[in-house]
């Protein structure tokens, strides 16, 4: 069996070994569940056909060519079992040792999220610089392929990633965790490693942002695969034409959310839906997929109808209406509310997510609830390893009683006071003709920052 490797760092290309059976685990950090699947009885080789491989920070993709795959695909698991048995105990023990070493070296998998994309290239979509699909951080193999296929959608994806980050920062500007990404991609990735409520929010808002950005691009005509949506009576609960009494009809350019939803599903979910079968997915992937869906649903729920009057001024003889996307701030508000009421889930799955709370375990988890696995830390102290920066130096409000109050934000450490002088133009007057005369006003305010 052969492996083809496309190295990004040529230096490390050799670590991708030609034989998968002799030293198979050298090629990447695979999840424990997958490892078991391969080396125990039911190996699903097709799932291994493509995998993102990370060796000490280097990034390259290895995949088995289709021909080889066909040849070596065991028709039934017994053939593999027999071959494995022939290798003898010695090989197995060596394998076990290798697994152990790998487990120590690479304790977890990386967590890809599109927000990483916005970190690496903030504003690049605006400046028109194209993003290389191959090297963009936060993208895994399937996403890179999609990225190449829909290359014209890349600016929209970038836009979405930026939008998600901006909205996240706006929503959490007053909390102890303020969606800070100071430490760069690696720190952010380690923050995503924990399945906390904050991670749930990040996944939901990125997925929603992709829908939003793609749909907006569709309506603006920037994408070839979609355009304005045609609203018909069949596909919607709303009538094709407004009743004659109300005197309105569909018109203008409705935002077509269908393509955006589908694209987001394929693109964003790709990072976590590596296993075809639901059973083989681990709980963390299931959590991410669920939260992605919650984000998308948040947009879908808030689609609204806007109308405009035509005819003699004020008469509104003819009214045209179209469907429109909610503003992204409204989506952010909604997701923040969901974040506040998010649901802890059990680590043990029975093919579906279950609530941690014993009383409500039977109640199914709907698409309107964000889910999380781990309790959030308090975010008070800086912990760079976990991607937490603490609240030292954050500005706080002395008089407020909310989360931005000095008392809560500074975790009882108290605050420092700085005197800040603002000089601004004020009392501007227009003087004939033609200039504007202004005074300069000076305001002195106390700025409080956490100790």
């Amino acid at each position: 069996m052969t492996h083809r490797c496309r190295p990004i760092k040529a230096l490390l290309a050799s670590t991708c070994r030609p034989s998968v059976r002799s030293r198979p685990m050298e090629t990447g950090r695979w999840s424990a569940a997958l490892r078991r699947n391969i080396f125990m009885n039911n190996a699903d080789w097709s799932r291994l056909a493509e995998r993102r491989v990370i060796v000490r920070g280097a990034d390259f993709t290895c995949w088995r060519s289709g021909r080889d795959l066909q040849r070596t695909h065991p028709k039934d698991s017994s053939a593999l079992d027999a071959r494995m048995a022939r290798n003898g105990r010695r090989r197995l023990s060596r394998l076990f040792m290798e697994l152990l070493i790998l487990a120590v070296l690479f304790p977890g998998r990386s967590f890809a999220n599109l927000m990483l994309l916005s970190l690496s290239s903030v504003g690049s979509s605006r400046s028109g610089r194209s993003v290389s699909c191959g090297t963009a951080p936060g993208l895994i193999g399937r996403q890179k392929r999609l990225c190449r296929k829909y290359s014209h959608a890349v600016p929209s994806i970038m836009d979405g990633a930026n939008k998600a980050l901006g909205e996240c920062r706006a929503q959490f500007s007053q909390e102890r965790w303020n969606c800070s990404t100071r430490g760069g991609t690696q720190t952010f990735e380690s923050f995503l490693g924990k399945g906390t409520r904050e991670t749930a929010f990040i996944y939901a808002i990125t997925s929603a942002a992709v829908v939003h950005a793609i749909t907006q691009s569709c309506s603006a005509g920037n994408l070839t695969d979609c355009s304005c949506g045609r609203v018909t009576g069949d596909s919607d609960t709303l009538p094709a034409r407004g009743s004659d009494l109300e005197g309105w009809k569909w018109g203008g350019c409705s935002d077509d959310i269908v393509f955006g939803m589908e694209f987001s599903k394929r693109f964003v979910d790709a990072a976590d839906s590596r296993g075809r079968k639901k059973r083989s997915r681990n709980i963390r992937s299931m959590m991410n997929l669920h939260n992605n869906e919650v984000g998308r649903k948040a947009i879908q729920q808030q689609m609204s109808v806007k109308c405009r009057c035509h005819g003699v001024s004020g008469s509104c003889a003819v009214k045209t209406c179209w469907k429109t996307l909610p503003s992204f701030k409204r989506v952010g508000d909604m997701l923040k509310k969901k974040y506040m009421t998010s649901v802890p889930i059990l680590r043990k799955t029975r093919r579906r997510l279950r609530r941690k709370q014993k009383m409500h375990r039977k109640v199914p988890i709907g698409d309107e609830e964000l889910v999380y696995l781990e309790k959030s830390p308090n975010f008070c102290k800086s912990d760079k390893k976990r991607g937490i920066f603490g609240t030292r130096g954050r500005e706080c409000n002395r008089t407020s009683t909310g989360p931005d109050s000095c008392n809560l934000l500074c975790c009882g450490r108290g605050y420092n006071t700085q005197v800040v002088r603002f000089v601004e133009r004020c009392g501007c007057k227009f003087v004939w003709c033609c200039y504007v005369k202004c005074n300069t006003c000076e305001t002195i305010i106390d700025k409080h920052t956490c100790k």
């Binding site: 308090n378 989360p403 809560l408 108290g414 605050y415 700085q418």
Partner: protein, 375 residues
């Protein structure tokens, strides 16, 4: 030879340690009055109520007051009671304000050497600043109030504001004598500090002053109507000291915003040493502390674990609030160690009804309360 050598070593050690001992023993020793008051309150069985007319007997062996302080008390008969009640008031206020924090103002009223609050006073952290301020404020408050009440012989009501003041009101009645209170507290409290050549001295003086200012700041006007019932044709007003809770609240706020300070150049500038204004913020970009700001010069310990040097037991076993995100929440109070949950069954009287005549009949309700304590 050996004997001589040992003698010199012992002498050297004694000389090195003795002044330090003296310094530490001197800190705020008058606070020990609080314990005397506590004992007497217990004997009278009326806790919290000032005992008017009953003289405080100070144990001469413990002599919590120094020479200057004793002279002051002698010259102003009645002030000793005020100081005693003030000290108690301050301790209670401190414990109230810090009940939700890791350091919850533990006191040992029998500890005379370390003046009630223990070894925290040997540090110059924010908590120490609060203690100094609240103690000084309490003395000013109590003396000012007792002047107006007439229990101190050398002062009386503050009659300085007189006559008509507003459209429909005039000064009258008996105002609390905050000026006397402040001045007395300044003389009395500041006399407790002896080591005048350290940052700590300046810091303590500043905090003492901040406490007194907090009392004067919260002074408010109280009025009474005269004339036909409800008509309020004439209103007389006087200045009254606030509840001590208000002073405590205001000092707690100052505690949160306390500034870390340093003395610019302690070696050469003798002038600045004498004045409290010699303190500058440690970080030059921060605001200069004003008279009513609290200042400190050392970092606070985190108060999580048992700290024998501070005499603080840590937060183990403290009750915490699961739902709170503040410092009283289990997460922060227990310093991430986790908490234990237990159910406590309490019997309470409930559904009380009045029955003619004259008794109140109640039912007994059994309530289960969930209590979380830090591990």
């Amino acid at each position: 030879m050996k004997l001589v050598c040992t003698f010199w070593v012992v002498l050297f050690l004694w000389l090195a340690v003795a002044p330090m001992e003296r310094v530490h023993a001197v800190i705020g020793r008058w606070w020990g009055i609080a314990s005397t008051v506590a004992v007497q309150e217990h004997a009278n069985m009326v806790p919290g109520v000032p005992r008017k007319g009953s003289a405080i007997m100070l144990d001469p062996k413990k002599h919590p007051l120094n020479k200057k302080q004793r002279r002051l008390v002698r010259r102003n008969p009645g002030t000793l009671e005020s100081i005693g009640t003030g000290a108690m008031l301050a301790i209670k206020e401190c414990q109230h304000q810090f009940s939700n924090r890791r350091w919850n103002c533990p006191v040992d009223t029998n500890d005379h050497v370390n003046s009630v609050f223990g070894n925290i006073l040997k540090r110059g952290c924010r908590e120490t600043a609060f203690i100094y301020a609240v103690m000084s404020a309490a003395v000013a408050h109590e003396v000012g109030r007792n002047c107006a009440e007439g229990t101190i012989e050398s002062c009386s009501c503050d009659y300085r504001s007189k006559g008509p003041a507003g459209e429909d009101w005039e000064w009258g009645g008996c105002s609390d004598n905050v000026e006397f209170g402040k001045e007395f507290a300044k003389q009395f409290v500041d006399a407790g500090e002896k080591t005048k050549d350290s940052v700590r001295y300046l810091v303590n003086m500043h905090n003492n002053e901040a406490g007194r200012v907090a009392v004067a700041e919260n002074l408010r006007r109280e009025c009474k109507c005269h004339g036909m019932s409800g008509s309020c044709t004439l209103k007389t007003c006087w200045m009254r000291l606030p509840n001590f809770r208000d002073v405590g609240d205001s000092l707690k706020e100052k505690f949160d915003g306390a500034s870390k300070v340093a003395v610019p150049d302690i070696g050469n500038n003798r002038g600045s040493r004498a004045k409290v204004t010699g303190l500058v913020p440690k970080n030059s970009r921060h605001k200069y502390p004003t008279d009513n700001d609290l200042v400190y010069h050392e970092r606070s310990p985190n108060f999580c674990r048992n700290n024998p040097r501070l005499g603080f037991e840590g937060t183990r076993g403290r009750e915490c609030n699961v739902t709170s995100r503040g410092l009283d929440g289990c997460d922060l109070l227990c310093c991430g160690r986790g908490y234990a949950t237990r159910q406590e069954v309490t019997k309470e009287r409930c559904n009380c009804t009045f029955q003619w005549c004259c008794q109140v009949k109640c039912e007994e309700c059994v309530r289960t309360k969930t209590i979380h304590t830090c591990l």
